[in-house]
Symmetry: C2
Subunit: 123 residues, 2 copies
């Protein structure tokens, strides 16, 4: 299949697929005219990539999952290192979330005070 077809099959864009290729996550053969030709299993591969992206990993992280990208990622976990990376990423995510919740709460507090000031202005 060609890049446009793969894009449609995976709900992404040709641009993104070239990006994944440049990142070393997928590969392709070339037709005589230079067009990229993908194998059927690349569909699964790309879907797994998208899944891991949606899960909060980066393209760089996903490198580690390469060996198992053609199967069911959610069911067939990767190597030790894959787990390690995923754990680290989980920690990063949790950290980020915590920071943003703190910010949210502070902003919330400011607003609460602001509106209460409006209701009960300081005379």
């Amino acid at each position: 299949m060609r890049i446009g077809e793969l894009a449609k099959a995976t709900g992404t864009t040709a641009r993104a697929l070239r990006h994944y290729e440049q990142a070393g996550l997928i590969s392709s053969e070339r037709a005589i005219n230079g067009y990229r030709i993908y194998q059927e299993r690349t569909v699964v591969r790309v879907r797994n990539i998208r899944y891991l992206l949606a899960v909060g990993l980066t393209l760089d992280d996903i490198q580690v999952f390469l060996p198992c990208l053609d199967g069911n990622v959610a069911a067939a976990p990767p190597s030790e290192r894959g787990l390690q990376v995923a754990l680290e990423r989980l920690a990063v995510l949790n950290e980020r979330i915590a920071v943003q919740i703190k910010a949210r709460d502070r902003l919330d507090a400011v607003l609460r005070q602001a509106t209460s000031d409006q209701l009960h202005p300081v005379t």
Copy 2:
């Protein structure tokens, strides 16, 4: 006071202060030699800017808070529009947090399954 002094007083850098000035958040007079000269109250102003940044606003958002940046931002809330912007920003923050929590939970689920697979390998 000059820029370096202000930077130290507010725990930031000269580079950041020039950035805030370019964003129209602070202003300065110039000495004969071209050096920026700040008033004392700019210290409070910059601290307020930093506070609002930490709270999750952008420099652009903070524009709206300009009229009250010299007082206690947390205690003296801004105009209607300031509140509006803050509310919108709060919504954005909440949205972002929700998305990341979803991602976190999915990654968590993957890992949970992965480690349970290791504990109870499929024979």
